[in-house]
């Protein structure tokens, strides 16, 4: 299922691949997910019950959308540290617009536009100001959450809307609408990354910026585009977040930032840019959600969960050293 373009020449028998550390590095997230599922299922049979699977997929939706956005940025050798606070900003904009009251469709649109603008500002400053993406998005992390606090005056807004309720409770069988949206986002992202001119230019920008520029690719425009995409997806995630918790809170969502980067790393995307898939980070996101969910089911204290996530992510990063 890896992207066909990057793996088309691999035609050796699969048995020889099992002895290759690179293979394991590439599929670390999937292997980890399978191992976790087996372990948790053995320890607690309710883990794979329909209800729990449905709730895990729903919980994973926001993280998948954020991880896809983060993948675009990391594939250009950048990083978006502001992705979670941009989501918070989007949620607050949604809440304020909804209570204005401007109706749900317009409120959702404004949330996405606000988040996309924050992303575009990141991109423009990084591309034209030639400032390290780490610094710029760190600044935006603070600025966006500050802006969210100012807009909301520090207070959460409760949003009871039938459409948002349906988004978080309805669905196709065990696949909640939020998860369906996340899957659609991932499919579109995969198509963009591997089957469009923009995707090729993005990978070229991440892998060999000098060569990309020599071939007439505007790496600056690619940079602006990926941060804008990341912001837009943070805005979409904001809608899913508001639907899920039934309120727009100006609270910081730091764990979403860490987990979005973690999912991307688990998914085998190179932090040096130019290499990666979309399916990898999606599986990475599912793994992180399964890990937290399983630990909760086993009655492990919440305090241990960040520790577990940290250990898993660093192990995955170690594995990527064996990537081909």
């Amino acid at each position: 299922m890896a992207n066909a373009t990057l793996a088309a020449d691999d035609r050796e028998p699969w048995t020889s691949r099992l002895r290759d550390a690179g293979f394991w590095a590439e599929w670390a997230a999937l292997v980890g997910l399978v191992v976790l599922v087996v372990v948790f299922q053995v320890l607690n049979p309710t883990f794979l019950s329909t209800g729990n699977i449905a709730s895990m997929l729903l919980a994973a939706a926001i993280l998948i959308v954020l991880a896809v956005g983060q993948t675009f940025v990391i594939a250009t050798a950048g990083i978006d540290l502001s992705i979670a606070s941009t989501m918070t900003l989007g949620a607050v904009v949604l809440g304020q617009a909804y209570s204005a009251p401007w109706g749900l469709p317009l409120s959702c649109l404004l949330a996405v536009v606000a988040a996309a603008l924050a992303g575009m500002v990141n991109g423009v400053i990084i591309a034209w100001g030639r400032i390290a993406d780490f610094i710029v998005t760190l600044g935006m992390l603070s600025a966006a959450s500050g802006l969210a606090l100012i807009l909301a005056d520090g207070k959460p807004v409760t949003i009871i809307d039938p459409a948002l309720l349906a988004l978080s409770t309805g669905g196709l069988g065990i696949f909640g609408w939020s998860f369906v949206i996340a899957v659609v986002v991932a499919l579109v992202a995969h198509a963009v990354l591997f089957h469009t001119r923009f995707g090729t230019h993005l990978l070229a920008t991440g892998g060999a910026p000098e060569s990309a520029r020599a071939m007439g690719i505007s790496t600056q425009r690619v940079k602006i585009a990926v941060y804008t995409i990341s912001g837009t997806l943070a805005g979409l995630a904001a809608i899913l977040l508001v639907a899920r918790i039934g309120a727009a809170e100006p609270a910081s969502n730091t764990s979403f930032l860490l987990n979005s980067v973690a999912a991307v790393v688990l998914g085998g995307v190179s932090l040096f840019g130019g290499r990666g898939t979309i399916i990898g980070p999606v599986i990475g996101a599912l793994l992180l959600v399964a890990l937290v969910n399983g630990l909760t089911l086993l009655g492990v204290s919440q305090f241990y969960q960040p520790l577990a996530v940290g250990v898993v992510v660093v192990l995955a990063a170690l594995l990527t050293r064996f990537q081909r």
Partner: protein, 256 residues
């Protein structure tokens, strides 16, 4: 037949430093023209002027006998002039097809037209009798130095180019790979292209070139038929700007 590329009286300065003085240069279809000269003689500058990266200060730039303005790389590419620089401008993380079409991808609707691109790449490589590449979907990072050079050259000829300039294509290669790349360069000329080969290696130059242009301190010392000169004469042209009757006259402004 007139040369496909002809430069006359080219001057180029960077601030107070004049790098090219009154340089004349020509390249003919179906021929390999070797551009030789010591470090700092102006080879790279001349090539960048040809490729439109440096606009020329003075002189005539004639393409197929017509005077043209080449002020940026795009203008050069539109005329059919492709330059393969030493760093090859390849992306290691992309495959051969992606690299050959980078920046000029074929699309059908919104998505990439992979079948057409694969077919064009396949045809170009076959036209160059390249058989060393296993799959055109191989990542460039998995290729040897000679294969990378081959891909860079194939990328340059993919666009029905008329002139291909190669900047030291064999500099980083071993013996066998050098022979392969030289053979490929010769084949480009035999297919009717005008090839300009920058090289420091006299053996390479004499093995495949039809003409030799020797630069000396920013001046064209001589442009001669390869069959008319000896190894030693070319070395003299490179190191002192003249050799017997050939080359720059005394008192032509070159410090001696």
């Amino acid at each position: 037949m007139p040369p496909v590329l002809e430069l006359r009286g080219i001057d180029k300065s960077f601030g107070p430093v004049q790098v090219l003085h009154d340089v004349a240069f020509s390249a003919h279809s179906g021929e390999v023209t070797a551009l030789v000269g010591d470090n700092g003689a102006g080879k790279s500058t001349l090539v960048k002027c040809v490729g439109g990266i440096y606009p020329i200060d003075a002189g005539d730039y004639l393409f197929e006998g017509r005077p043209v303005q080449v002020n940026d790389p795009r203008a050069a590419a539109e005329l059919g002039i492709e330059i393969v620089y030493q760093d090859l401008a390849l992306c290691d993380n992309l495959d051969i097809v992606q690299n050959m079409f980078l920046g000029r991808e074929r699309k059908s609707g919104l998505v990439l037209d992979e079948p057409t691109m694969e077919e064009m790449a396949e045809r170009t490589l076959a036209g160059l009798s390249v058989k060393t590449v296993k799959s055109i979907r191989q990542l460039v990072s998995s290729l040897s130095g000679g294969q990378r050079q081959t891909v860079a050259i194939a990328k340059a000829v993919l666009w029905n180019s008329k002139i291909v300039v190669l900047d030291e294509p064999t500099a980083a290669l071993g013996v066998a790979q050098t022979a392969q790349v030289l053979e490929l360069v010769r084949r480009l000329a035999d297919n009717g292209l005008a090839v300009v080969l920058i090289s420091h290696n006299m053996n390479d130059v004499f093995a495949i070139s039809d003409r030799i242009a020797a630069l000396y301190l920013g001046r064209m010392a001589a442009q001669v038929k390869t069959s008319d000169v000896t190894h030693a004469q070319v070395v003299e042209l490179i190191t002192s700007g003249r050799s017997g009757e050939l080359g720059l006259n005394n008192g032509s402004g070159v410090a001696s």
